[in-house]
Assembly symmetry: C2
């Protein structure tokens, strides 16, 4: 991709601000939920552990950068970004429970329910959700009423019975459903796409970005969400074939939807290439309109590159136009 000198300069300033932004997000993630004097010690310890393990913070980083690119207030974008990361963390705490994915490790540490017990994991997750709504509330207070409604309804729709929670339910109950491409992608649309939309579209709505930009960001979220899910599915299948991955073919074992299993590896590789290519075209169009959106390149890298590298290594399959 050709870049003008000006864009390149903006990008290098971005890189610096990302480091300080990273530190700011890390601090805000750890400090935006405070216990009181009377808080139960077990709940306190559980929350302290959760708040000390924030993950990559790639999503809230993108959220803040999108909000700022469209001129939103800094504190509002930070509150919104931490809120979405608290929602996301809560969803992971639930996903990891024995009755869901029964996971052992999360963010480089034993899962919260293994360290503190299931009740503590559940109550910590609910506390994160409670606080996340409080942060959304704070973020909205600087915004005109009409936009408040749009932001809140977009967020709550993507989290709720027609969004993330539905995606999780479809995922868990996939065994009893028809296993075709449409069905597998319905799960991805429910589960992966809403979290990207919340990170990428929501801050643009908060910032009262032009309607056309919001539409483009929404389509970009769809391409990236589907690409991410498909890449994750492919990695899982290829790892099981090369027999190296420790959680190899986990989806097949758990009866989870896996598009690569449904349509086969060659078709999945082709489809992944097309999704990434379509995403890149959209992303470049957005950056051409507004150079401050250049950070989208970094998010694309953090979202997809590790997965596509793993796929190419495992399967020795070049994914057309990935880079």
């Amino acid at each position: 991709m050709a870049r003008s000198g000006v864009v390149a300069e903006v990008h290098s300033i971005d890189s610096v601000s990302q480091d300080s932004l990273g530190a700011e997000l890390y601090r805000a993630y750890g400090q935006s939920l405070r216990c009181g004097f009377n808080t139960d010690p077990v709940l306190q310890r559980t929350l302290a552990h959760v708040l000390a393990h924030p993950g990559s913070l790639a999503r809230p980083r993108m959220s803040v950068q999108t909000g700022l690119a469209y001129g939103a207030e800094r504190q509002s974008t930070l509150d919104l970004a931490i809120a979405l990361e608290y929602f996301h963390t809560a969803s992971l705490l639930f996903d990891d429970l024995p009755c869901m994915d029964d996971a052992a490790v999360r963010r480089g540490a034993p899962c919260v329910h293994r360290l503190f017990g299931e009740p503590a994991a559940i109550l910590a997750a609910l506390t994160l959700i409670n606080r996340a709504y409080g942060l959304v509330w704070s973020a909205l207070r600087t915004v005109p009423l009409q936009h408040q409604v749009r932001v809140f309804e977009f967020l709550n729709d993507r989290l709720g019975v027609n969004g993330l929670l539905n995606g999780q339910s479809l995922d868990l109950n996939f065994q009893s459903s028809a296993r075709d491409l449409a069905e597998a992608e319905r799960v991805a649309r429910g589960k992966t796409v809403p979290m990207i939309e919340i990170a990428l579209v929501l801050p643009a709505i908060l910032a009262q970005a032009p309607q056309r930009d919001i539409q483009l960001l929404q389509r970009l979220s769809l391409f990236w969400g589907l690409a991410y899910q498909l890449a994750d599915d492919l990695k899982d299948v290829l790892a099981s074939q090369s027999d190296t991955g420790k959680s190899a073919e986990r989806d097949g074992r758990l009866g989870r939807p896996n598009t690569a299993l449904v349509i086969g590896i060659p078709a999945a590789v082709g489809r992944l290439g097309r999704l990434i290519h379509a995403g890149d075209r959209l992303m470049n169009r957005l950056i051409a309109k507004r150079s401050s959106l250049n950070f989208l390149n970094d998010f694309r890298t953090s979202l997809l590159d590790e997965l596509t590298n793993a796929i190419e290594e495992a399967g020795a399959i070049p994914i057309d136009r990935v880079r």
Copy 2:
């Protein structure tokens, strides 16, 4: 208690409107959360079951009546009331899980996790919470900004890490805590009082009631919350003594806080009488100020009479001044 003819008349009109209000709440409880075309069938069936089993609706009834007594808009009070009942129902779905209370029956039916599995119970509870915040959001839209902040912050505080979630955590982890009156009542303050405050104080804040009334309603919530918890504790202990209750001395077995076990039956009976007496004095003071608050008598009856009757039958102990 002496009542003037006017108050008695108001009360009889109330009784009629309560029936239609009951029907209205029943309908609203069942219809305020709607699934989409793409909602997972298992999640749909689970939610349909939950929404068809609304419990007594005594709390949302009191919430609406309080809001209306202070002049709030009808639709706002209804939205707020259903929101609080969804929060409450969600907390019951979590409480009943095997890792928490491992309950078998709720609202006259097998517990949701026993009918539809733990993941479905968890996702249904989260869907209720998501929708409850949406309803709170709707309820707030008719209120001036300054009061919006008060309503939202009061609600979120009572639900969160210093409210209901903390009470639940204290309750679960009581085994490892000091077992004295202060500690047992701290759990009641965390667990029982916030839900009554949300039903009784929150709609008054929504309606912009006078500050003095809000303070009185807050104290009334405290007395009633502590009385309810203590009566429940006493019933548990007495049922185990008379050996009739099927879940007799459940608290002792589970290591849960039970004030009657901590301070002994005679002291608990005396304390319950004093709490109820103090609540009655406050309630009558509020009704004398505003006759439309007369419905508080009905709530007091639904909250406490069944428990105190059970206590008197089981222990043949007259609770001083209960009636």
